[in-house]
């Protein structure tokens, strides 16, 4: 039931209009951070206030919403945001990636490939990829304006000098359409290749920092690297202990105080659908094992 005290999807129509204008500008200039008048939302900063505002501006009553947090549909952040929109917009929700029209995500891109017509909304804590290298906002804007991105490579250089390889494992910087360097939000670098050429619309909302940026479908997105230290999409070298998938991104779960651990898919929907199809992993109940 929609709570009648609120407008559809919580935000008033003028605010949604303002956000949609920012979204259109962001889509027109891929990777460019568009400032917008971020509103106070009934949840703390850091819980996805930017993503929630973008989702609210995109939702229509016919949409089917999926919310994930680190790939999972059933963690606190995902549950509370999903319930927020159930209550304020009354839209249908789902846990199945393929059935959703709008997916709000924190720190993952679903394993199942997205399709045209879907919208993926990212929650972004710090939209500025140069922030930890150059603290001045005036200077970073100038650097974007003049395409001075040498500093980004200094960070990668430092990684190799200190760790022997590019140790940045999440929020790995990308260059969009050969122009803007963009922070893809703290997704693992395993997900970076999925940013490129994706048929879905990808929208990024940073609530506290009041910035929106976007990747239109089929954008050209390149992860930054060195010629002799090319980008690699890394993951834990295991198969999922529940569904046996060797290709999905894994979470490491420590199961006792003697160092025993298990690896499970971080994408719960992907893992559950594989198990429903009969796939089994190392720790699945024994019986009808199918690799």
């Amino acid at each position: 039931m929609t709570d009648q005290a609120y407008n559809f999807a919580y935000l008033d129509e003028q605010t949604k209009r303002m956000i949609r204008r920012a979204l259109l500008k962001a889509l027109a200039v891929p990777g460019y951070q568009v400032p917008f008048a971020s509103r106070e939302m009934p949840m703390p900063y850091g819980w996805g206030t930017g993503g929630v505002q973008v989702t609210a501006a995109c939702l229509t009553p016919d949409d089917r919403l999926k919310v994930i947090d680190q790939g999972a549909d059933d963690t606190t952040n995902a549950v509370s945001i999903r319930r927020f929109f159930q209550r304020t917009a009354g839209v249908e929700t789902t846990e199945h990636t393929a059935e959703a029209t709008v997916i709000q995500t924190r720190h993952r891109i679903p394993e199942q490939p997205l399709s045209e017509g879907q919208i993926l909304v990212y929650q972004v804590p710090i939209p500025e990829p140069l922030r930890f290298l150059e603290p001045r906002e005036t200077e970073t804007r100038k650097m974007h304006e003049l395409e001075e991105y040498g500093l980004m490579h200094v960070k990668l250089y430092e990684d190799i000098a200190r760790h022997g390889e590019i140790a940045t494992a999440y929020a790995y910087p990308v260059k969009v359409e050969g122009r803007y360097v963009m922070d893809p939000s703290p997704i693992p670098k395993f997900d970076n290749p999925k940013l490129a050429g994706n048929p879905a619309i990808q929208l990024f909302g940073a609530g506290r920092e009041a910035r929106i940026y976007a990747l239109p479908p089929y954008s050209d997105v390149v992860s930054l690297d060195f010629e002799d230290h090319p980008f690699t999409a890394s993951k834990a070298d295991h198969a999922c202990d529940l569904c046996g998938s060797a290709t999905s991104y894994l979470d490491e779960v420590i199961t006792d105080d003697r160092g025993t651990r298990m690896f499970v898919c971080s994408d719960t929907d992907f893992c559950a659908s594989r198990q429903a199809q009969g796939h089994r992993g190392r720790l699945s109940p024994q019986g009808d094992n199918k690799p």
Binding site: K142, G150, V154, Y157, E158, A161, R162, F226, E227
Partner: protein, 260 residues
């Protein structure tokens, strides 16, 4: 080609006309003009408040002068767009700050500091960047095994040498130096000067060096400009100005140097 012909055919690398900068009613520097030829070192001396630092920051593009023209290689630098100006600052020009902390990234390793300008002009091969960083650390007498240390772990003299390496790595043609030996003790100063003199001669750099230390210009500079109250009071060959000062202020300056 003889030296004489060279001097006739070479065009000035930097030519400055009528450069004036005011701070409200006060004068920063007024009506300064000079020409700097390729491979030449120009010293600018004067007491505190004489306008030498204002002049240098106007020349290097950190401040915009109120009047005057600056021609680099025949192009009017003041008419450059922001993008062109910044490209110049990280390519053909270099700026050595008095305090190495202003010119270095203190949170980035020595190798990263030296490599930054290379990466800014498009170097994308880690091994090559590392190799030229090692090479440049060697040239400024920093041991190769310090390449992954941060500048905060370096002594003042090492930091200054690192800053010089970081600036020279892209092979600039014109270097601005603001009191490069300021704040260093005399033995470290002597080593740094020796190093600078070697680098300037080997690389054929053109340098504008600002200092209040006459010994520094005696060692490094071919020509000398003496400034007082924002104006140039005397200029000429370094030895000529220091050994036979004509202007009263220059005479005072030269006689003020302590003899040990």
């Amino acid at each position: 080609m003889t030296l004489m012909q060279n001097a006739i055919t070479a065009a000035p690398l930097l030519s400055v006309e009528g450069l004036t900068k005011r701070y409200g009613p006060r004068i920063g520097c007024a009506d300064v003009g000079f020409e700097l030829y390729p491979g030449e070192v120009l010293g600018i001396v004067g007491e505190s408040g004489s306008g030498k630092s204002t002049l240098l920051s106007c020349l290097a593009g950190h401040q915009r002068p109120d009047q005057g023209r600056i021609l680099f290689d025949g192009a009017d630098v003041l008419a450059f767009s922001e993008a062109e100006r910044r490209r110049l600052l990280r390519g053909d020009w270099a700026y050595v700050h008095q305090n190495p902390r202003d010119g270095l990234r203190m949170g980035v390793s020595a190798g990263g500091n030296v490599g930054e300008r290379l990466m800014a002009v498009g170097a994308r091969n880690y091994a090559a960047i590392r190799e030229s960083a090692t090479d440049w650390l060697g040239r400024v007498e920093i041991a190769a095994d310090r390449i992954d240390d941060r500048p905060s772990a370096f002594s003042g003299g090492m930091q200054q040498r690192l800053q010089i390496a970081r600036n020279l790595v892209t092979g600039p043609r014109l270097v601005f130096m603001d009191e490069p030996t300021g704040g260093l003790d005399v033995s470290v100063q002597a080593r740094l000067l020796d190093l600078l003199r070697g680098l300037v001669r080997d690389l054929g750099l053109s340098v504008v060096i600002v200092t209040h230390d006459l010994a520094v210009v005696r060692l490094l500079a071919d020509r000398l400009m003496v400034m007082k109250s924002g104006r140039v009071v005397e200029c000429g060959l370094t030895d000529q100005v220091l050994d036979d000062p004509q202007h009263a202020y220059t005479q005072l300056l030269v006689s003020s140097v302590l003899q040990v």
